[in-house]
Amino acid sequence: MPTRNRDEVIRVELTAGHVWTVVAAGLVFFMTPGLALFYGGMTRAKGVLNMMMMSFAALGVVGVVWVLWGGSMLAGDPVLGGLTADPFAHFGLHGLMGTEDLLSSDFSVTFAIITVALISGAIADRARFGTWVVFTLVWVTLVYFPLAYMVWGDGLFSEDGALGRIFGEPIDFAGGLAVHINAGIAALVLILLIGARRGFGRDSGQRPHNLPLVMLGSAILWFGWFGFNAGAATTVEQAALIWTNTLVAPAAAMLAWLLTERIRDGHATSLGAASGVVAGLVAITPACANVTPLGAILLSAVAGACSAIAVGLKYRIHLDDSLDVCGVHLVSGIVGTVALGFLAIPSEGRAGVFYGGGWGLLGTQLAATLFVTLYTGVLTLVIGLVLKATMGLRITRRDEVIGVDLTQHAESAYSLKDEATGYFAGQAPARPLPGTAEAPVPAASKGDNQ
């Protein structure tokens, strides 16, 4: 409403905290398309659209699921002994309407979306799109929402939850457990179920097709991650610390990744820079509010180097983690989560080993990591097996050779030399209109020498 209520525009009752939540939610939202570019540029040219579509499908499905029952699964009272909250207490978000809780829920849904989207990088170039759509719906409902509730809500790992009372409450400020380890484990399970791409490890066509797109994607991720990490800051000082760590961690991890490459392969690469940025962001995610900037440098440099080494392992064990979801998100997610056991600065009565907090926190972090691994691993396996048996996970060998974009979406990404490719790419629209009995005008007049 650009001009009408000029006075009201000025007298809005938003507080600064609300404004920041609104902005941060927008920033986190923007990460999913950023991820689509990051992943899309890394696939081969004949799979980029399918890759991006998996992120877009996550946006579509999780967006709607959230309004229907997902929002309720985060906001309600615990059911099933703290495993989740009642999905139908706030169906259609109705109980949140007109309250500030709706804004918190807005912020939360963006995390659900990107977590699902993250998984897709592991199954590039070979997944059935329809199955993916169903997977996003089921997985976000059975795995993500409960886990987020356990870690951040009043669920199992909260102060009063069953596990929280035994192992203590883990530190996971912005999603090392609930987002990155969670997505990484789910990716690992899907890889085992779907199998390697045809030609994996041999076909050099599987190199990234568009590296500037990858770098752009990583930049959008970084930009959005300031909202991801700092969105829940509750004081100025905390926001400033998180912002600082969210800048310096990817910077340090990038340098570590590039150095690793320089030593191992002789060259520092742009794909390495983009990957290092993401590894650093992943590693600092759980820790962003609980380490000093120097701690962030240390933690993320280790993560960057570990992930740089991890991404090469897939060839050795012949595990086609196509875009390295495990190598980057699982490995750096674990590094960040566990490193807190050493590097966490004292707060709320907990501190890392290096700050004299003893080994307790490390134990809590390890226990939580293990729990997420088991919870996500088992449930994703069940979901994956059912889908494999019913809809099928994988496209046919023939479709894979032709390309997933063409066979799943009937599209190809680029037509850059248009006179020629255009003419090559086909004929006039053969069936421009649905349900028309008459011969389509264009096709009929194709022979004209107009």
């Binding site: 006179e419 003419y423 090559f424």
Partner: protein
């Protein structure tokens, strides 16, 4: 057998292809090339620096045909590709000693 190679304007390619199809040509191989000839190029300007582009986009068609069809097919191509302006392109014919269809191993005219 002969190999007919034709270099034509991109915007006429569609017409040439239709004409060859109507005539009954079984196969052809096409690609985009850049041609230099009598036709004037255009110029592009980037931050004030001017570039004269004298290699222009063309489509190159090659089709291997039986000896008896060469004359007709060249006519079909020339007719369908012509605008009458310089830059319409060239057609040339070269001898082919043998042809194999990969899928079946058939040789000669039957492989076309």
């Amino acid at each position: 057998m002969k190999l007919i190679t034709a270099v034509v304007r991109p915007e006429k390619f569609s017409d040439v292809k239709d004409a060859l199809e109507s005539y009954g040509v079984q196969g052809m191989t096409v690609l985009t090339v850049h041609g230099y000839g009598r036709q004037r190029g255009h110029r592009e300007v980037y931050r004030g620096a001017e570039y004269t582009v004298d290699l222009l986009e063309k489509v190159r068609i090659e089709t291997v045909v039986e000896d008896g069809e060469v004359q007709d097919l060249v006519d079909v191509i020339v007719t369908s590709a012509r605008t009458g302006e310089p830059g319409d392109g060239k057609v040339w014919v070269t001898p082919v000693e043998n042809t194999v269809r990969v899928s079946t191993g058939e040789l000669g005219d039957v492989a076309l």
